[in-house]
């Protein structure tokens, strides 16, 4: 079983739009939306949800106001400034370490588990899908990402499917680490902007750290031909293959606004062909690993 993960460094370069097209163009796979902070893939794949589970991964301290002695020990040990002057724990700041609970001289503190999000197993026109949404202001998104991946792996085994395509999160932090670790191939979607180039370098370095081979796709490449050239030259020096260049096309936004997957959108021709071509190449590289 092989996992392909789509990342970008910079947000908004077109990961999800591309992931949806890849879903429509491929067989024999499970789709996993690992952008649990802002899950969007389901808006295009329109899944039929079969099962929903709560994601409980953190706990917060709760202080019993009636017994509290106001001795300040809890406030002194808390390194996250989560306890107010009147001894109320702010659940947004509490990191669940239990230090205060253990140090409270009269055991007036207990921990409460928090529902941090939800995850779903679903069926789509293009096969099974796992996706999730983290609650707002939550931490532990890396864990939810890992969970989504593990469930996708389970689904793949159960259904005898050989591939998992992961729509990854933006950035280079914890959730991205969890999305790329152990994957067979990463596709980095970038754009020819100064910001895009800057972020491409960081995400590429991260894939190196995790020893995941990477391919690069330049989206909206004709927005700035000079920058595209710079990206290609940089990739060549880094010995990373640029596996496709997609032109800037208002038709792409039209498809998105219509809630349609690009390669199935009747209004567009050229970009769909290019994306289909790119998928053939990506899949070919994936098979070779």
């Amino acid at each position: 079983m092989k996992e392909l993960v789509i990342v970008s460094g910079k947000g908004g370069t077109g990961k999800t739009t591309l992931a949806a097209s890849f879903a429509a163009l491929s067989n024999d796979k499970v789709m996993a939306d690992c952008d649990v902070d802002a899950a969007d893939l389901h808006l295009l794949l329109k899944p039929n949800i079969l099962k929903t589970e709560k994601f409980i991964s953190s706990q917060v301290a709760v202080i019993d106001q009636e017994s509290c002695l106001a001795c300040d020990i809890c406030r002194n040990v808390c390194r996250f400034d989560a306890i107010s002057e009147d001894y109320v724990v702010n659940p947004m700041d509490c990191e669940g370490c239990r230090f205060c609970e253990r140090m409270c001289p009269i055991e007036a503190i207990h921990m409460e588990k928090q529902e941090n999000g939800r995850w779903h197993i679903a069926e789509t026109e293009f096969g099974p899908m796992v996706f999730a949404q983290l609650g707002v202001a939550e931490e532990n998104s890396g864990q939810l990402v890992s969970l989504v991946r593990k469930e996708a792996q389970k689904l793949a085994k159960e259904n005898n499917l050989n591939y998992i395509i992961i729509d990854g999160p933006p950035g280079v932090g914890c959730p991205v680490n969890s999305a790329i670790t152990g994957a067979q191939l990463a596709v980095i979607v970038t754009e020819p902007t100064m910001s895009g180039i800057h972020d491409l370098m960081r995400i590429l370095e991260l894939t190196r750290q995790f020893r995941v081979p990477a391919l690069v796709i330049v989206n909206k490449f004709d927005l700035n031909l000079e920058n595209t050239k710079e990206i290609k030259s940089y990739c060549q020096k880094q010995q990373v293959e640029v596996v496709g260049e997609i032109p800037f096309d208002p038709g792409v936004i039209e498809a998105l606004k219509a809630g349609e997957i690009l390669v199935r959108f009747s209004g567009d021709g050229k970009v769909s062909e290019i994306v289909a071509d790119i998928w053939k190449r990506v899949f070919n590289r994936l098979q070779l690993i």
Binding site: R79, L134, S141, P170, E205, F248
Partner: protein, 278 residues
């Protein structure tokens, strides 16, 4: 006054809005809290005058005192310690630096060492006071780094905070305690979906907010309908124009390529001031 610029979705234009606001107004400071992928420096081109290493304390074991009782592994809520045979393994990437193991080790065999989680660079660019944080690759501690960047706030200035994308912990840290929050979105299903998450977050934090629509198509009904139903003001629309996208790609801000935008962002600021009551 502190204005934070956030969005549920990545790539909607937070940095564009934040940078242009900082350039259009006088006496401003720009804080880039998108510590995973800071981009503000591309537009403000600051001269960096100071570089600070940000560290957090991580536990290490003094084997002269350790008796491998395993209490530390049991105490650690994050699974960052494993006691195996005659070794104590510490997993820095799981550690939250809470200090529990240090205090609670019966033999007092654990001490802490500082490890760098990122750096902060401070300077000035185009008349704007500047600071940004850069998270060390592989580190998971964006939240504390954002906290550190905010410590460089100069309250004598109008502070514009460029938040990371999303609605998780580090974003909350960037937005909280601001006087006003601008939520940047785009008129697509993704933009709306993620805007709803951002609105939920900002309401929970309790900071007043308004919407900025980037890459507007003029009508933006998908956003407009939602904003009207939720009684959220749309404070600014930046049109979808190829020229704007091209200038952005070259690291050129709106107010520099088109002087009219200076007035646009000043008006936005005046609008915010009115809403905050200043």
């Amino acid at each position: 006054m502190v204005i934070s610029v956030a969005s549920g979705k990545g790539g909607t234009g937070k940095t564009t809005i934040a940078v242009n606001l900082a350039l259009a107004l006088s006496n401003t400071q720009y804080l880039d809290c998108d510590v995973e992928e800071p981009n503000g420096h591309i537009f403000l081109k600051p001269d960096i005058t100071k570089r600070v290493s940000v560290t957090l304390p991580y536990p290490r074991v003094n084997y002269d005192k350790c008796d491998f009782c395993g209490d530390c592994a049991k105490i650690c809520e994050y699974g960052a310690i494993a006691v195996v045979k005659n070794q104590v393994l510490i997993f820095d990437d799981l550690c939250h630096s809470c200090g529990s193991c240090v205090m609670l080790c019966p033999q007092k065999a654990i001490y802490e060492v500082p490890q760098e989680i990122g750096i902060i660079e401070i300077g000035e660019g185009k008349g704007v006071l500047f600071a940004h944080g850069i998270l060390k690759l592989g580190s998971t501690r964006a939240h504390p780094l954002v906290q550190e960047v905010k410590k460089y706030s100069d309250v004598s200035k109008t502070i514009i905070i460029d938040a990371p994308p999303g609605t998780s912990c580090p974003v909350v840290e960037a937005v909280k305690n601001a006087d006003f929050c601008l939520l940047v979105t785009e008129p697509t299903p993704f933009g709306l979906n993620d805007l709803k998450l951002a609105v939920e977050m900002t309401r929970e934090i309790g900071v007043p907010f308004g919407i900025v629509i980037n890459r507007s198509d003029g009508k933006d009904s998908i956003i407009f309908d939602y904003a009207r139903a939720e009684n959220i003001p749309i404070l600014l629309k930046i049109p979808m124009e190829r020229e704007i996208a091209e200038a952005y790609s070259r690291g050129i801000s709106l107010v520099e390529s088109d002087d009219n935008y200076r007035e646009v962002f000043r008006k936005l600021f005046a609008d915010i001031q009115g809403r905050v009551g200043l």
